[in-house]
């Protein structure tokens, strides 16, 4: 009885504090969120406004499905005039839902959730790095001496390549490209063989305990390695290390660096801003995108001179939520593309902070709405006329590939690629 009461009290305290922390009180009932939500756009009903107002006004929790339905894409927060942090609002409610035994509908038989839990095991040793380029110094958990200052974090890509082998996405290639590009700038980062899952999905699914465990294991290892700079290419991983780790576990003591951002600030040889003699459609000085970042839908011609005989390759770029809205990295990928020879960026109608959601997140709740969002995003990309849609997020690529593959074939030739893989191929490897 007493236990129940204290449980209720704890819950009430958590609800009160999450309302405060996410600024839910400040919701002025303007409705922008509901109109913005991709779930609503795809044809269902989802009103962040109503969920917030209910919890604030009459204490009513979201329903069992509502609490898991949100994609945490953050478009609502982006447009909210009161900066109510709805993604965090819902993810903190997920923690209370989990306590109540309300679990999400996992995809892929729960494989990825299982994988996360396994990685929390203290004694786990992994063998996921056998594909690394030879020059990379990869060290196991038992081989750390505090001298490895620059560390590169790979993440789940090797596992995804196994599960999604059919899609033939070469996700490991993203990291191979990242390492090569970093090397080209003069770095020699070390990879930790026994790095753990960053905990992103656990955190946003409300499993804070698992997130803390995973984060603890990683931080222990980083400390033992002596990390000064941690390079991360995965947008989810980057945001988690750079923002969630300090928020939950305090000061890190090392710097977290996004690979694309680093490359844009320290362009490797072969990428430069000189000249605009390209055959592109609309030359712009230096090829830099507009200063206000408005992205006016036009083409940005890339800087370096291409072989005059070849037409520039037209690409489009999708701002994934964790890279864009959550981390604010919009200009750097565009700057890199502008510095790549023979490439023209064709922007979609809604880009940067207004970019649409890829339709799926956290390996939960994938359904026909998800597919609809993916098809719409692909359609937007096709409208640009570009042959390739680039993104920094390989999870986006998996979801989009899935939408394409289920149609039996890649119908119109639109491909997706990771921006790092693309940059490496275009700028350094020159295949």
């Amino acid at each position: 009885m007493e236990e129940a009461r204290s449980k209720d009290e704890a819950r009430a305290a958590e609800v009160a504090s999450l309302i405060k922390d996410t600024r839910a009180y400040l919701c002025i009932d303007c409705s922008k969120c509901t109109g913005s939500c991709p779930i609503g756009k795809a044809g269902s009903v989802y009103s962040p406004r109503l969920l917030v107002q209910h919890l604030v006004l009459d204490g009513r929790d979201p329903s069992e499905t509502e609490v898991w339905r949100c994609l945490t894409c953050g478009l609502c927060r982006e447009r909210c005039p009161s900066d109510v942090d709805f993604p965090r609002f819902i993810s903190r409610l997920r923690a209370t839902a989990l306590i109540d035994g309300n679990l999400p509908q996992t995809t892929h038989g729960g494989t990825f959730q299982e994988l996360m839990r396994i990685q929390a095991n203290e004694r786990l040793r992994q063998n996921k790095m056998d594909w690394l380029p030879e020059w990379v110094n990869a060290r196991g958990a038992d081989d750390l001496d505090g001298s490895t200052e620059d560390v590169y974090f790979v993440g789940c890509a090797p596992y995804f390549d196994v599960v999604f082998a059919d899609f033939d996405l070469d996700l490991k290639g993203t990291h191979e490209a990242a390492l090569e590009l970093l090397k080209a700038t003069g770095l020699n980062p070390v990879v930790l063989r026994d790095e753990r899952c960053c905990g992103h999905d656990a955190l946003w699914s409300g499993d804070v305990e698992l997130f803390r465990k995973l984060a603890g294991r990683n931080l222990e290892m980083f400390k033992a390695a002596g990390v000064k700079r941690l390079f991360v290419s995965c947008p989810e991983g980057y945001h988690t290390f750079a923002h969630e780790y300090p928020a939950h576990l305090g000061e890190l003591g090392f710097e977290v660096i996004n690979t694309v951002k680093y490359l844009a600030d320290n362009p490797p040889p072969g990428f430069d801003m000189e000249g605009d003699t390209n055959t592109g459609t609309r030359p712009k000085a230096g090829g830099v995108v507009e200063a206000d970042g408005a992205g006016d839908g036009g083409a940005v011609t890339c800087g370096a001179a291409a072989d005059a005989s070849t037409r520039p390759e037209e690409v489009t770029y999708h701002d994934s939520c964790r890279m864009g809205r959550f981390s604010g990295i919009y200009d750097e990928p565009r700057k890199m593309l502008a510095m790549t020879r023979g490439v023209t960026l064709k922007e979609m109608e809604f880009t940067r902070a207004q970019a649409p959601c890829c339709g799926s997140n956290l390996w939960i709740n994938c359904d026909s709405l998800s597919k609809k969002m993916q098809m719409e995003l692909l359609e937007e990309a096709r409208k640009t006329g570009a042959g390739v849609m680039l993104t920094a997020c390989d999870k986006c690529r998996i979801h989009l590939a899935c939408a394409l593959m289920q149609n039996g074939h890649v119908s119109d030739g639109l491909k997706t690629d990771n921006i790092l893989r693309f940059l490496y191929r275009k700028g350094v490897r020159k295949t």
Binding site: C30, S36, R49, L50, R79, A294, Q354
Partner: protein
Amino acid sequence: MTAKAATTGKPTPPRGILVIGGGVAGIQAALDLGKAGAKVYLVERTPSVGGRMAQLDKTLPTNDCSICILSPLLVEALRHPNIDLLTYAEVTALEGTPGNFKARVLKRSRFVNEHDCIGCGVCARVCPVSVPNEFEAGMGDRGAIYVPMAQATPLIYTIDKENCLNFAGGTYEPVCGKCAEACPKKAIDFEIENEEIELDVASVIVATGFDEMNPRPIRNLSYGDHKDILTGLEFERMLNAAGPTGGRVVKPSDGSAPTSLAIVQCVGSRDERYHSYCSRVCCVYSVKQCIVAKDHQPAIKDFHYFYRDMRAYGRGFEEFYHRGRDETGVNFIKSSPASITTGSNDKLRVRYEDPATARPASVDVDLVVLTCAMIASAGTPELARVLGVDVEKDGYFKLKDPLGDPVASTREGVFLCGCASGPKDIPDSVAQASAAGARALAYVGEDKSPVEEGPLPMNDPEEEPRIGVFVCHCGHNIAGVVDSKAVAEFAARLPGVAYATDNLYTCSDDTQTKIEQIIKRKKLNRVVVAACTPRTHEPLFRETCTKAGLNPYLFDMANIRDQCSWVHSDVPEEATEKSKDLVRMAAFRAMNLKPLQRKRVEIDRSALVLGGGISGIQCAIDIARQGLDVVLIEKEPALGGLLRNLDHLFPSGAAASDLLKAKIEELESLPIAVFKGQEIEAVDGFVGNFEVKLKDRELKTGAIILATGGIAREPKGRLGYDEFDNVITSSDFEKTLGGTEKFNEGEHIVFIQCVGAREEEGYTGCSRYCCQVSLKQALEAVKRGAQATIIHRDIRSFTRFGEDLYRDARNAGVSFIRRKDDEDVDVRGNGRAETLGVFDTTLLSDVELECDTVVLAVPLLPSDTTARLGEMLRIPLGSDGFFLEKHIKLGPLETNTEGIFLCGCAQYPKDIPDSLAQASGVAAKVGALLSKPYVNLEPATAFVRRQLCRACGTCVDICEYHAPELKQDETGEYVEINEALCKGCGTCASHCPTSAIVAKHYTDEQIESMIDILFEK
């Protein structure tokens, strides 16, 4: 001050007042000060005064043409001998101390000799450059040599160095020269340099206005991606008859007529990522735009109006909002759109949440208008540095004490008005402008020389008539329908007409000069203008006649705009014919006009303030500071009025008693006679010469100020107020908050807004301050341990910092329930109110609340003396029962009776800063009125031909102004009309059974001549 000072050369210029910004606020301040006798330097950054108001199409809720009511003020300022207009100029330094500032002003070169330019516009026609015209909000083009608008004041062309080909390299290099070649006056000179001047000024008024935020960064609204998405100001220009489309509402993408329109409110306002404050004017101006758009483009069938809270708080605004809904058919949707994208068939798709179902929805429209935030005028930080004053973090100039002093900046002697200190509508800006004027005037001391008004020129009425007729195009406004040229040609052939012509804008400054010259050259002895309404423009033309040596009563107007081009816009030929008839009638009347001479009467240079609330106190202080005698009368035994019911004040949290104490101390430190517990029993007299009877004495005064405030409505029979002890009003609850007592943990206080306001019957308007009061009280209650819920229909926290208060209340955990407009709250209980039932439109469900206290936010009603005073003083009341101001936009401080002024809640409910601004503003008006020891009386009055009067008394009974009086002498009874009281309305003359009464200037002979000539053909 003597007349001499004004006329003797310019040995040492007197210390003047520097007014920065020539919008309606700056102009108003300059005029008040000029009339009060101060020397004014009005510095305007652009080539013409007029500001934002000049860009607007109509003003609401009367839908008056904005430039039409503003233009006479601009011309008046230009012509005023005490006002120097320094246009195309900027203030670059301000040194010294209050009372003795030295200001430096950089007059940028126009490269056009100001004295030679005649404003003919030949130069602009030959200029090969075409750049977007700022005045048209970028919707139209102009050359590198230009005037921003047709009514530019002064009408002098300016070469914009940035765009002129001759300055392409930064310095002058003769490349083009077409304008200089074309100029008939050889006024263009590319070698003219900037000029720096130094001015001795006693004080400074900053009236720099606002800019419209560029919504481009709000990418989901797609401004800039689609041509058919406009800002509010761009749409305003499109609606304007003189604007880039001639008032036609079209889709800019293809010029076709739109059939549907979406209005999006709060674009960049009330948004913490951009501007967190409320821009205060947008909700209602958008309603106006819908009404005007429907009028200009009947093809528009659907108006989708997206809003957050409908903030229709001003006089007549709520009714205006209903008019938009009921007459224009605007579909008001309480939802902020999420995005605007390309829809089907070249339309724009607006995505939003349907508030009725909480489901996402979208609508495809032809045109979208974004009502963007009003932001501080560009250059504010630089000017703030020059002036040594602070700015707020939201970018506007900072008020030293936003609550207790609505115009003081952070530097003594520098005052703020209009939108320089935050968004405001026109009447609030105008009131503040006068207030800043009153405060600035106090620093001038004796350096005042009011303009003397001598006798009018008199002409021989028997002279052969030589009539001059001027027919106005009013740009497109008249000439778009009426063939003004043909009307002028017709007029030229009328008997007695010696000269006739047509003008693009007859009211513009250059046309006045032209008319003056023509009167002299052609020896005209009658003038007829066929243009707009004499209501706004007759004074201007009369002044022009006077200047030309013609008696102003030998002037007449034909209103071919309202009565022809407006009402017959669909039949242009008939409209032209009717215009000819009206001109012919006016010309025949003109032949019969007689010159009239005005009468000068001595005045009592003192003022009487009625009402000792915060407004009355402030007004008395500001009048006394000008060295005038003031009497303050309060009917209660103590001063303070409504303020005595308040505990602490938003936004500073200061105690109301402290503010009141400080003001009363200031009042008592000045030579002001205060009579408490007294009421006016009778009033007699007229402007400058009122006789006021109190219980025990009689007073003479030159001006009367009504600061009689209001009383909170008692919510009898509403929401359990009569039944339950714990249902109280806001004022009752304010007393509860008087101490520092904590509430019981979790004690629930529920506030219900609009109890007896914004209702279909009875009090239809918004009481303007109640939302803020409840927000403040709820926040305080929560801080003291209670729970608070506000049940409202719209939260109208539009005031300066009001949105911060709303946010603070939300953040502190105050709950908000939005009820339906037409459904009351159900208050239930047994002895005490225990539960409330209401449908919450946010949650779309019925909710039940337990309550410990219910606080009813009741509107303010006119004080109980209002009706009696209105009758006694002949001041009309509005449908809301409050005193009516002279003009809803430009005359918020005056009444229709000269010498009687209004301030504070006597006009309509207001908060403290707005009341204080009005109070100080009235002081400026009084200062101007009493600046000379006399006033001139209107000569067009009625008189009695005694030999025909049978003393029936009909006129005595019907006169609104108590002008006729029954008298008796040895020859019998008769009536005499007091010229000073007579308004010349002619009612008595029309009722007089024996035609004994003659209304001068509207004699039977004059009227009949018009009728005869009309029916002659």
